[in-house]
Amino acid sequence: MKYKKFFRLTLWEFEEIWRLPTLELIIGIAVFFGLSSTTAPSSLPLRQIVDVEGNMFRLTLFEMFIIAVLFARSVAGNIEKREILNLFTYPVKRVSILASKFIVNVSLIFIIFASVIVARGLLSQLEPWNTLMLIVLFILFLETLFFSTLSLLLSVIAKKTWATILLVIIFFFTITSFMPQLEPPLKYAIPTYGAQAMFSYLALGSHDYTFEDFTVALSSMVIMSIIFLLVSFIHFKRMQVD
């Protein structure tokens, strides 16, 4: 019964948030950003899929913005418009409500962006099950998870759509503007630089990055995601709405 209710909540969320034209719009822009190339073709096949200095960063920025908008609409918007009160009156746990929103949005965003990267790989004759491709998808998943948990946390705290989007943008630009001054490996605790470090270390075997850099990048992203997620759920569970 519990799973049935949870499934119903995820279906509800999917039908409500991912209705036309949201889905088409995100896919369209993701394809545009993902497949358009601004750099010269590289001899490395993987560089043709994801250019570390160019496309991947652009994709990250775009992905971050999309995640912020979606979570702001789905969670903060629901609280702001008091639609969440309806869900609170039905016999379902608050944790299930938030989990359904989180899982639907994270899954779909990841599927869309992963599809774009796989498509780009296929165009470069790189098979989707190639180890390097899986590394790229793994890093993409970590990035999606990090930005989603951050957006989720800011959504349940801000409780307003535009405030959430603004806070995510401010957060992102603050850490990318001020934290590069940090010395490695601490610098790679910042998700965008961390993603580059992980990608270069794992996929390209770059000597510019050490195992320590990779560990800091991976662990900071995972740990911060878990902390953001836990705080979001605890806050949402205890949240008082009037």
Partner: protein
């Protein structure tokens, strides 16, 4: 006609609060509130900002009280909110439903959340019950205010609740819509035994269907009880009587010792009584003896308005 005590099918209170206190920062929204319902259709009235919505939100587990207890069906409203929500339906004052959904789809989802066996059919039946069958496949965003309110009632009813809490249910409705909604509430209580707690400002409407009223002001209950009892306590003891033969009944009534004054206006008899209990016992007997039909016998006050007004004045003093 308002219910009398004898007509109420359920008398046990479903909702009970004991010294319930809720503060928002320095402001006290509820101050040792002791609320209970009448087990049938109960009214919850008070001026704006009195604490009605805050109380309802505590009952539904949206808010945690600072002090005191609140129980529904004997279950703690904060700790056992999930069990309570399985048994109740709620229509909020300014509801917001997913505008892109059709009413049918929306209710199907809600039905699933209540764990219904056939949510699709139940959604259809509920929409029919509230008079929205014709608009079942229309997007909710295209609904008028009246349709929206009916949908609100439908989503509150689909889980087959034992108690439905309505916060200002007639606020967005025109007069005919209000009457329809009140009739529906009365019918649902009669046919299915569903109990209601209705929070509203519109007292004459409430009086038509409620058997119990709780009056709240500045976060505390200033008066509560069966309307009939409160009417006896506060009203001027004037009754309105409709019979099949008004002139004969009026003559008979005027001879009674418990009557202070009786008169007729457009075939309706009004009687100011000295002894309410004697009057309520004797009036039906007089009608039977004179072989006429007693169609209506109810206090003329507007009882609730008078009770409300006196209770509030007393509180202010």
């Amino acid at each position: 006609m308002a219910y009398t005590k004898k007509e109420i099918p359920t008398l046990n209170p479903i909702i009970t609060t004991n010294n319930l206190t809720k503060r928002f920062g320095k402001a006290t929204a509820l101050n040792e509130l002791n609320l209970k319902d009448g087990g049938g259709i109960s009214g919850f009235v008070g001026p704006n900002g009195a604490g009605k919505t805050t109380t309802i939100h505590i009952l539904l587990g949206f808010l945690k009280p600072n002090d005191g207890t609140a129980t529904v069906f004997g279950l703690d409203c904060w700790k056992e909110s999930l069990k309570i929500r399985q048994k109740i339906g709620f229509l909020q004052e300014h509801p917001a439903y997913p505008s892109a959904f059709t009413a049918q789809r929306f209710l199907e989802h809600v039905g699933h959340l209540y764990g219904l066996q056939q949510p699709k059919q139940k959604a259809k039946d509920t929409l029919k019950e509230v008079g929205l069958a014709h608009a079942a496949e229309k997007a909710i965003g295209t609904y008028s205010a009246g349709m929206f309110q009916r949908l609100g009632l439908a989503q509150a009813l689909i889980g087959e609740p034992q108690l439905v809490i309505l916060d200002e249910p007639t606020a967005n409705l025109d007069p005919s819509g209000r009457l329809e909604l009140l009739e529906k509430i009365k019918q649902l209580h009669k046919d299915k035994g569903i109990c209601f707690l209705i929070s509203t400002h519109i007292l004459p409407e409430l009086e038509k269907i409620c058997n119990w009223v709780s009056i709240i002001n500045e976060g505390s209950i200033v008066e509560q009880g069966y309307i009939q009892d409160l009417a006896n306590k506060y009203s001027s003891n004037t009754y309105r009587i409709t019979v099949s033969d008004p002139p004969t009944f009026l003559k008979a009534l005027q001879k009674q010792t418990f009557i202070e004054e009786a008169w007729s206006e457009e075939n309706i008899i009004y009687a100011k009584v000295k002894d309410t209990n004697a009057f309520r016992e004797e009036a039906p007997r007089i009608a039977t003896a004179k072989k006429m039909q007693l169609i209506e016998l109810r206090p003329v006050y507007g009882a609730l308005e008078q009770i409300y007004s006196i209770a509030m004045k007393r509180e202010e003093q």
